[in-house]
């Protein structure tokens, strides 16, 4: 899976936010804030990545146990999916 084009990840007001750019960006319902793991996952999903690859990179980057990384990955995949940011 990967995130769609047309979104920008930015540090803003002490948070990481995702905003829509291009067509549809004038409607601001798509503002999403992410914590640092969320922002990390968003960046990884800029290119095609499987859930397994994602979990591996979280384990590596954050030095966490695999179940924790899996939980993080699932939470954010769901969040990004619900917001309509993911291409299947």
């Amino acid at each position: 899976m990967k995130v769609k084009d047309g979104f920008l990840l930015r540090s803003f007001g002490g948070e990481s936010i995702v905003v829509a750019v291009g067509e549809g960006s004038e409607d601001f319902n798509k503002l999403i804030t992410l914590n640092s793991v969320g922002a990390f996952i968003f960046e990884k999903l800029r290119s095609e990545t499987t859930r397994d690859e994602l979990v591996n990179s979280i384990v590596e980057a954050y030095e966490v146990e695999r179940p924790t990384a899996e939980k993080d990955a699932d939470i954010f995949i769901e969040k990004l999916g619900e917001a309509g940011l993911l291409d299947d």
Binding site: R10, F12, G13, G14, E15, V19, V21, S25, F28, T33
Partner: protein, 238 residues
Amino acid sequence: MIFRYKIADVVFDADIKYRYTYDIMKEYLVDDEPARFSIVLSDEDMAREKELSPHDLTEGMYESTAIYRKFIYELMDNYDAFFFHCSSIAVDNKAIMFTAVSGTGKSTHRRLWQKNYGKEVTIINDDKPIIRRIDGKYYVYGTPWRGKEALGENIRVEAEALCFLSRSEKNYIGEIETSEVIARTLNQTVRPKEPELMGKLLDLLDGFLTQVDCYDLRVNMKDEAARIAYNKIVKEKQ
């Protein structure tokens, strides 16, 4: 006809067709400085403005907002500046801004400050000032686009306080974390579609929120509303 203007310390030429636009912009005319760029509206620019406007306006009003839109994008791209929808006043040469969605009562609250602290208050711009970053500091600039009552001056004042205004029966003011006002800030500006420009705008806004003191200001229409805000923003800082 082409006229030369200086707004937010940026000199530019604009091709003006309507008397309305000429009149509101005339305080900003200059003649002895070189222009950095020119604004010439196309038919498409005018048509787009009509499409975006929620009300039926005169051709002159469409022209003036279309010019403002082009000006703002040019400034965002090359002059570290952005548009911010707020009523802004200067007290003691420091800018205090009241921002909220239209209809909340920005101008009403500003009027209470004038009523209670009239001698100290200068209106920078009652509706559509420009904020510009110069050498790391943020300044609020008066513009010709000044809201319904056409209040404001051709001045610049360093940004000090930003109040996120809402209506409430009981008056309240407290400091607020920037992380809590992200959406409310982004909704008060023109957001470009181009990713690069949007990135520039977010960087500017981020620095702006860091520099200014942000307040959650909940007010009714009584004098006390201005008093608690004044005490917190002006008096406690002295």
